[in-house]
C-alpha cells in the first residue's frame, strides 16, 4: 500500500536561513507527489507537484522540491525562510486508483527572528 513518511514532526529555523523538509514515499509505480501548506485555521494550499520530467520542480512562494527515485524521496527546500512561512507542511502521494491523496503526518515549521 502507498504511504508517505515525514520524519520531522517539528522544525525551527531562523529567518533568512535555508530550509529542507523531508518526505519519503512508498509506491510501486511512478508516483505523483505533492507538497501542501496549511496555515492555522486555513485549508491546504498547493505549493508544488511532481508528475514526470524534470526532477527539480519549482513552486509558489520560492519553494522547490527534488524527486529522487533511488531514495524514494521528495524533499522540499527554500533558500531563505521568511517569518510568514511558519505553518504546517504536508507531503502527499496520489493514489493510483480513484485519485485520493495519501498524506504524511506533517511537519510543523517555526521561524525565529
Amino acid at each position: 500500500a502507498q504511504s508517505v513518511t515525514q520524519p520531522d514532526i517539528h522544525i525551527t529555523v531562523s529567518e533568512g536561513a535555508s530550509l529542507e523538509l523531508r518526505c519519503n514515499y512508498s509506491y510501486g509505480a511512478t508516483p505523483y507527489l505533492f507538497w501542501y501548506v496549511q496555515s492555522p485555521g486555513q485549508g491546504l494550499q498547493l505549493l508544488l507537484k511532481y508528475f514526470s520530467g524534470d526532477t527539480l520542480v519549482q513552486g509558489i512562494k520560492g519553494f522547490e522540491a527534488e524527486f529522487k527515485r533511488s531514495q524514494s524521496s521528495f524533499n522540499l527546500r527554500k533558500p531563505s525562510v521568511h517569518w510568514s512561512d511558519a505553518a504546517e507542511y504536508f507531503c502527499a502521494v496520489r493514489d493510483n486508483q480513484g485519485g485520493k491523496l495519501i498524506f504524511g503526518q506533517g511537519t510543523e515549521l517555526s521561524v525565529k527572528p
Binding site: 485549508g43 508528475f51 496520489r94
Partner: protein, 115 residues
C-alpha cells in the same frame, strides 16, 4: 473564481449528538472529497464522489457517518451519533476530475469538537 466553501467553520457538540457539515465545491468540479484531519495527523480520505455517485467510501465509518451529493454539486457529511474520537477538522476538496494532472482544491475546513 470562488474557492471551495464549507460551513460551519467551527462546531462544538456533546457526544452522542448529531452534526452535519456542508461543502460547496468549485463550480464545474465533478469530483468531491471529504477528508478527516485529526490533530497531529495528515488528512485521511473519508469519501470520494464523482458527480453524485460514490467512488470510494472504504474508510467511512458507516455505522455513524453518512454523506450525500444528491445533485452532483454541493455535499453534506453527517455524523450520528458523534463520539469523542470524531473531534477533528473535516476538509472538503474538489477537482475537475480525478485524473493525474489535476490538483485538489481544499476548503477552509470545519473544526469539530466533541465533548
Amino acid at each position: 473564481e470562488a474557492g471551495v466553501a464549507q460551513s460551519p467553520r467551527y462546531k462544538i457538540i456533546e457526544k452522542r449528538q448529531s452534526v452535519a457539515f456542508w461543502c460547496n465545491p468549485i463550480s464545474g468540479h465533478a469530483t468531491l472529497y471529504w477528508y478527516q484531519q485529526i490533530l497531529g495527523q495528515g488528512p485521511k480520505l473519508l469519501i470520494q464522489f464523482q458527480n453524485n455517485g460514490v467512488v470510494d467510501d472504504s474508510q467511512l465509518p458507516k455505522d455513524r457517518f453518512s454523506a450525500e451529493r444528491l445533485k452532483g454539486v454541493d455535499s453534506t457529511l453527517k455524523i450520528q451519533p458523534a463520539k469523542l474520537e470524531d473531534s477533528a477538522v473535516y476538509l472538503c476538496a474538489s477537482t475537475p476530475d480525478p485524473s493525474s494532472y489535476n490538483e485538489q482544491f481544499f476548503g477552509p475546513g470545519t473544526r469539530l469538537t466533541v465533548l
